[in-house]
């Protein structure tokens, strides 16, 4: 059979400029609607990979190691989701999120959860102030009014305070009294939990942990990494200056762009199949994940593809992200717990078939 290369007839492409009707298209990437515009978009998307790797390198000036954690946090931000970070104390969670905020020119705030923390402490409250001899109420914004919020040890806060936080996560707004205040976008909460020292805590119920896009496990650094950390943080007092590599506007546009990354039908079905299996594998899983997990898995996979400069979602994206997306959404059965299986091991079994 003769070998035949597939050729397409070249047609003259019109260079007339047309107005964009799609509101979901990022403005700075869609300047002109012609082949040059598409070419520019292609170049920008491919340039994204180098942009994100530059962000990684900039973060590495402060954070040593934890590459996968940084990547997962970036995916959460691009997917417009929130992350639950489970780690031991002293692993650089605050430093990590603060560094990301600096590199992306985003405002940052930190909330240390304690049992006596009130909702108004995080959302804000009305203050009476004297203006021109008249007393009036002024709303003082709480720490939630930032782009990146670190909520340390969320399991120490009372359920009432947790619910205020969750409203901010879900609705991107806070309600104080009978007034609702919109939060500035992009908005990202990184809530942490300490796996030890669980006495006197209010563990997040499953219905609420389900609202977090990912549960990221932060492990201890390796010996070499710890040596580098010690070398860096015991020598100099002043910290290095970080460059701003991505603006707030660009990040907002990238969040819109991430949703546009196309996905093949069979890969989409695979994502849904994985989540569906968490509900049918009764011998290992007592309670499986909800359809929110399917949505989050696909969104996160799209963000990952964009982060890597790809214009399509790959099967490996789904398989790799299944772990952080599902580990906090499934409850193991007694049999699995008796066998000493972890959620990651069970997810691995589901992925195998």
């Amino acid at each position: 059979m003769p070998v035949r290369k597939i050729h397409l007839r070249k047609k003259k492409i019109s260079t007339t400029k047309t107005q964009s009707k799609s509101s979901s298209v990022p403005g700075h990437l869609e300047k002109k609607h012609d082949s040059r515009a598409t070419l520019a978009a292609v170049k920008n998307i491919e340039k994204l990979k180098s942009t994100f790797s530059s962000i990684h390198k900039e973060i590495e000036k402060v954070i040593i190691g934890q590459q996968s954690v940084v990547e997962q946090v970036m995916i959460c931000i691009l997917s417009d989701g929130n992350a639950l970070l489970e780690s031991f104390p002293g692993l650089g969670k605050t430093t990590l999120i603060r560094t990301i905020a600096q590199v992306m020119d985003l405002s940052f705030s930190r909330i240390q959860s304690t049992p006596d923390l009130m909702p108004s402490d995080i959302t804000g409250t009305y203050l009476i102030e004297d203006v021109d001899g008249k007393k009036q109420f002024r709303f003082q914004k709480g720490p939630l009014f930032a782009n990146l919020v670190l909520c340390d040890e969320i399991n120490r806060a009372t359920p009432k305070t947790q619910s205020a936080l969750l409203e901010a996560m879900q609705e991107k707004q806070v309600t104080v009294g009978n007034q609702t205040f919109e939060l500035d976008t992009p908005f990202f909460i990184l809530a942490t939990q300490n796996p030890i020292d669980q006495e006197g805590t209010y563990p997040l119920p499953e219905a609420q942990t389900d609202r977090f896009l990912m549960k990221i496990n932060l492990d201890y650094p390796t010996y070499e990494e710890e040596l580098a950390i010690v070398e860096k943080y015991t020598k100099h007092v002043t910290k290095g200056k970080l460059n701003v590599l991505l603006s707030k506007e660009s990040l907002r546009l990238l969040q819109g762009l991430a949703r546009q990354v196309p996905i093949a039908n069979d890969i989409k079905k695979r994502a849904v199949e994985i989540v569906h299996k968490t509900r049918t594998k009764k011998e290992l899983i007592e309670f499986g994940a909800s359809p929110r997990a399917s949505i989050n898995l696909i969104l996160a996979a799209k963000a990952k593809a964009l982060l890597e400069g790809r214009k399509y979602v790959s099967k490996t994206d789904i398989d790799e992200l299944a772990f952080p997306i599902l580990r906090h959404r499934i409850i193991l059965s007694f049999k699995a717990e008796r066998e000493g299986k972890t959620t990651d091991e069970v997810i691995k079994e589901i992925l195998k078939g």
Binding site: R4, I6, S14, S35, V261, P262, I263, N265, I267, K311
Partner: protein
């Protein structure tokens, strides 16, 4: 407008790809059908069977195989053979009607990368060469054995012939052998009576001179309008029914001669 052009380009690309895939499926099914045809024909040639016995299954396989492959072989096959377009082709196909910046960028990438894809990359050359060799080998066997016109049915076998396998009456030892009157040849040639030819009645008997009917000679004689010597119309005096009278006359004559001596 450019987006429309791009979408049309992509749709045309997929049509071309499907056509290429169809040609490859057809080619592979054809090779397999030829192997089946020659294989079956080689076997039935030993039984002097008809060529249609080989052609029918080969044709059925060709149609069924083509339909099966068309259903199961998909664009993923092209992707598996061309790593550079892996997952891109399927993604573009599934989102061909969507419109967004990233998708158009994906279409551009696909159009650029598809230029490096050739039909040859979809063919498993080892498999094709193997099949061609099989066809050549089987064809050689058929060519070698066909001049000998081997008929397995005619081979004398100790167990009573090949009829046991191809049909025919089984030899049953328990059945009594009927007594055969060898002088009565009506079982072989039919009743001694009468072959009706027009309004005349004829008694026919085969000449005893030759044991094997010579068809060529008979045809030659017929062409020359000579009545074949092996088959002739006998007069009444030669009829078997008249024979006892003739014998009686001959007997009486012989007795008279003996009396004279």
């Amino acid at each position: 407008m450019n987006r429309l052009v791009k979408m049309k380009q992509i749709k045309r690309l997929f049509r071309e790809l499907r056509f290429e895939l169809f040609k490859i499926i057809l080619f592979n099914s054809f090779l397999n059908a030829v192997i089946i045809f020659i294989g079956i024909y080689f076997i039935i040639s030993f039984f002097q069977g008809s060529v249609f016995i080989a052609a029918v299954p080969a044709l059925c396989y060709f149609i069924a195989g083509t339909l099966y492959d068309m259903k199961h072989i998909r664009l993923k096959t092209i992707e598996d053979h061309n790593v550079q377009i892996k997952e891109i082709l399927r993604t573009a196909r599934d989102n061909v009607n969507e419109k967004n910046v990233i998708l158009f960028a994906l279409f551009d990438e696909l159009i650029n990368k598809i230029k490096s894809v050739s039909t040859g990359s979809l063919l498993d050359f080892k498999s094709v060469i193997g099949k061609v060799l099989i066809i050549a080998t089987l064809s050689t066997f058929v060519l070698i054995t066909s001049p000998y016109s081997i008929d397995v049915k005619k081979i004398d076998l100790p167990f009573g012939g090949f009829d046991i396998f191809v049909g025919g009456e089984r030899f049953d030892a328990g059945k009594e052998i009927e007594d055969v009157d060898f002088s009565d040849d009506s079982g072989l040639y039919g009743k001694k009576s009468v072959a009706i030819l027009g309004t005349d009645t004829l008694d026919l008997q085969l000449g005893g001179g030759e044991t094997i009917f010579n068809e060529e000679k008979a045809n030659r004689d017929a062409r020359n309008y000579d009545f074949p010597v092996d088959a002739y119309a006998a007069s009444e005096s030669f009829s078997d029914e008249k024979q006892p009278k003739e014998m009686q006359l001959a007997k009486e004559y012989n007795l008279k001669i003996l009396g004279l001596k």
